[in-house]
Amino acid sequence: MKKTYKIEVDCANCANKMEDAAKKTPGVKDATVNFMTLKMNVEFEDGHEPRTVMEQVYKSCKKVEDDCEIFF
């Protein structure tokens, strides 16, 4: 399943870091962060509840870039 979330982040490099962090989160099959449209596309692995996965994604992103926001 794929979902798109709005994000807020200030710098392009930070967006790349968020993408990396999101990709490494368990339950995430693939993720792309689009800095220009400020959106995060997340593809979830089967059998994972997007909301709980996203909470983890949010935590991992906060770790690499404190000044970010994901609206989910």
Partner: protein, 639 residues
């Protein structure tokens, strides 16, 4: 699940930006003021600490958080180390406090500019693509009510007033007007629409009130599909973008390790091997200069921004590119393969000539139209179109259709025959064969040969010019594929100047030929296939890049293609290639420029020629220039 596109991308940092601007001015003013105050020792340190903290406190806080989260290569952390290091050197050695503050100040100015420029272009580009209708009008008890277009059911009659966008695809049931389709096609000439016409969402109604019966849901309407496509386009990343994010990952750690080595190794070598003084502060200063240049920001921001601007500019011209990767592939196109019908030709058959006729042209067409009036064959329809009036069927009697030959009937009591050569032979009438390419209708009136009518597919007016434009856009070979018979195909190919023609093909043959061409094309180049989206989905997806033409309203084409041309003008193909080339040129310029300047700065910094001042100036300067250059990708009108 279809993604609901965002209502509007707002600039999220506006409040932050204002605050940052205040801080920048405050720190700069303090710095200038302190310059005129004679200070020494402890007081000097404390007073200079004030502007430093004003401008840099958030960086320090973020750096602290970075340490907590073990993000050593975080740019805030590195910036903090560089400036604190400069402060320490100032206290212990040089007494030059200004440098640390200035570096922080310019770093923040750079960040400010970046967020401003990106926010601004984000807004501009989103506005360019803002074809999203916000509401639909529904008539309720004689009054117009505005509703969310999402809630309008198929078959509802909506009202579009002058100046409003058509929110949902449908058919006009009442009214007429002219439509501005420029947001969809880039075409500035208005298009007329009247009752019974199909109408697609995203057009702006300029005159007259239209009542439209919707044929699709909002989510399935053209405008939603286009928005979805464009908004997700820059999520498909190009090779250049991947390269940059990989580069950024290596670059920062590499520079940091370099800085560390620079701080430790030369002094140790001087001390141990050469026996001279280690000059610790000098080498540490050079190492700190490295850290100032360690942020790959200019690169990381300018590349996606270039693609975003390129895609935005292209969509303004009616060229929808589904991803940055496709823009990149498109720029390398050197073979273009066309499916003839619908791309180079109109795909509608028209009367193209009347030869050897004894009667006036109009009269002959009138007879032909009347004889064929009972038939719904495409040939018959093109005759009706040429006649231009509703044929009076009461004048036609004894219609006799001979399958594969033609039609015979009495018109006003006179026997008229219209058909191919076989029909003439069957009737024993001597006829004059036509040397033109197309479908020939011989006419016999009252047993006498009366000339023939040539019906053929019409070449688009810009097709020849389009082939020429492709050559000037760097395409080395143009190939035309068609299911038509050889003679027709060759004639069209010659007229247009196409390099290679393959005719009498079945759909699966087309895939085969495209595969063969892909194998033989020069290395590094790509093959683009242009089709009208009807029956050619397999070829569209097999080609390196599939371009669908005249996609207004055709869902299949939007799905299958990588690049969608909103109208059916073949000139748009070369335009799309030129846009992609410009965008990629900018991307490469930025990559070379940004990496080049950084490397030069690193070298100069290591040699002790460039100090922190120059480093931060170069860093911020490169970013500003790269961002401005990236925005240039948006301007594609004159290509």
């Amino acid at each position: 699940m279809p993604v609901k596109p965002l209502k509007k991308v707002t600039n999220p940092v506006n409040k932050k930006q204002k605050k940052m601007l205040v801080r920048i001015f405050a720190a700069a003013a303090l710095l200038i003021a302190l310059h005129f105050v004679p200070l020494d020792g402890m007081w000097k340190f404390v007073l200079y600490l004030v502007p430093y903290l004003v401008i840099g406190y958030d960086i320090l806080i973020k750096a602290g958080k970075g340490i907590k989260n073990r993000q050593v290569f975080d740019e805030n952390f590195l910036m903090a180390i560089a400036t604190i290091g400069a402060f320490v050197i100032a206290v212990t050695d040089s007494g030059d406090y200004v440098e640390a503050i200035a570096v922080m100040l310019f770093y923040q100015i750079g960040e400010f500019f970046q967020s401003y420029a990106v926010g601004k272009s984000r807004k501009n580009i989103s506005e360019l693509m803002d074809i999203r209708p916000d509401y639909a009008n529904i008539e309720e008890n004689g009054a117009l009510v505005r509703v969310d277009p999402d809630e309008v059911e198929v078959g509802t009659v909506i009202v579009v007033q002058p100046g409003e966008k058509v929110p949902i695809d449908g058919v006009i049931v009442e009214g007429s007007g002219s439509l501005n389709t420029s947001a969809l096609t880039g075409e500035s000439l208005p298009r007329d629409a009247k009752t019974g016409d199909e109408i697609i969402s995203g057009c702006i109604n300029m005159t007259g009130v239209l009542k439209i019966k919707t044929t699709k849901e909002f989510g399935e309407s053209t405008v939603s599909k286009i928005l979805d496509l464009v908004e997700n386009a820059s999520s498909r990343k190009s090779k250049s973008e991947d390269f940059i994010s990989k580069f950024a990952k290596i670059y920062t750690p590499a520079v940091c390790i370099g800085a560390f080595a620079l701080a430790i190794l030369p002094p140790l070598i001087r001390m141990l091997a050469m026996g001279s003084s280690p000059q610790w502060s000098d080498w540490i200063y050079r190492a700190l200069t490295f850290l100032v240049i360690s942020c790959p920001c200019a690169l990381v921001i300018s590349i996606p921004l270039s693609f975003f601007a390129g895609i935005g500019g292209a969509s303004r011209e009616g060229v929808l590119v589904k991803g940055s990767n496709y823009l990149e592939t498109l720029s390398k196109t050197n073979y273009v393969v066309f499916d003839k019908t619908g791309t180079l030709t109109q795909g509608v058959f028209e009367v193209n000539g009347i030869h050897h006729n004894k009667l006036e042209d109009e009269k002959l067409i009138e007879y032909a139209a009347l004889v064929e009036s009972a038939s719904s064959h495409p040939i018959s329809r093109s005759l009706q179109r040429a006649y231009g009036r509703e044929p009076d069927r009461s004048r036609v009697t004894d219609v006799q259709e001979i399958s594969g030959n033609g039609v015979m009937a009495n018109v006003d009591g006179i026997p008229v025959a219209a058909g191919n050569a076989k029909l003439m032979e069957r009737l024993g009438i001597e006829y004059i064969p036509c040397h033109h390419v197309g479908t020939i209708i011989h006419m016999a009136i009252d047993g006498q040969y009366a000339g023939h009518i040539l019906i053929s597919d019409v070449i688009k007016p810009t097709a020849k010019e389009a082939i020429g434009a492709l050559k000037s856009a760097g395409v080395t070979k143009t190939v035309m594929l068609t299911g038509d018979i050889g003679s027709v195909a060759q004639a069209v190919g010659r007229e247009l100047g196409v390099d290679e023609v393959h005719s009498e093909l079945l759909p699966e043959d087309k895939v085969e030929i495209v595969e063969k061409l892909i194998k033989t094309k020069p290395a590094g180049g790509t093959l683009a296939f242009v089709g009208d989206g009807i029956n050619d989905a397999p070829v569209l997806s097999r080609a390196d890049i599939g371009i669908a033409m005249g996609a207004m309203g055709s869902d299949a084409a939007i799905e299958a293609a990588d690049v969608v041309l909103m109208d059916d003008d073949p000139m748009k193909i070369s335009k799309a290639i030129k846009i992609s080339k410009k965008c990629l040129r900018i991307v490469y310029q930025n990559i070379v420029f940004a990496i080049g300047i950084k490397l030069i700065c690193l070298a100069l910094g290591a040699l002790g020629i460039a100090g922190m001042w120059l480093a931060i100036f170069a860093d911020v300067g490169v970013m500003i220039i790269a961002v401005l250059n990236a925005i240039r990708a948006l301007f594609v009108k004159k290509l």
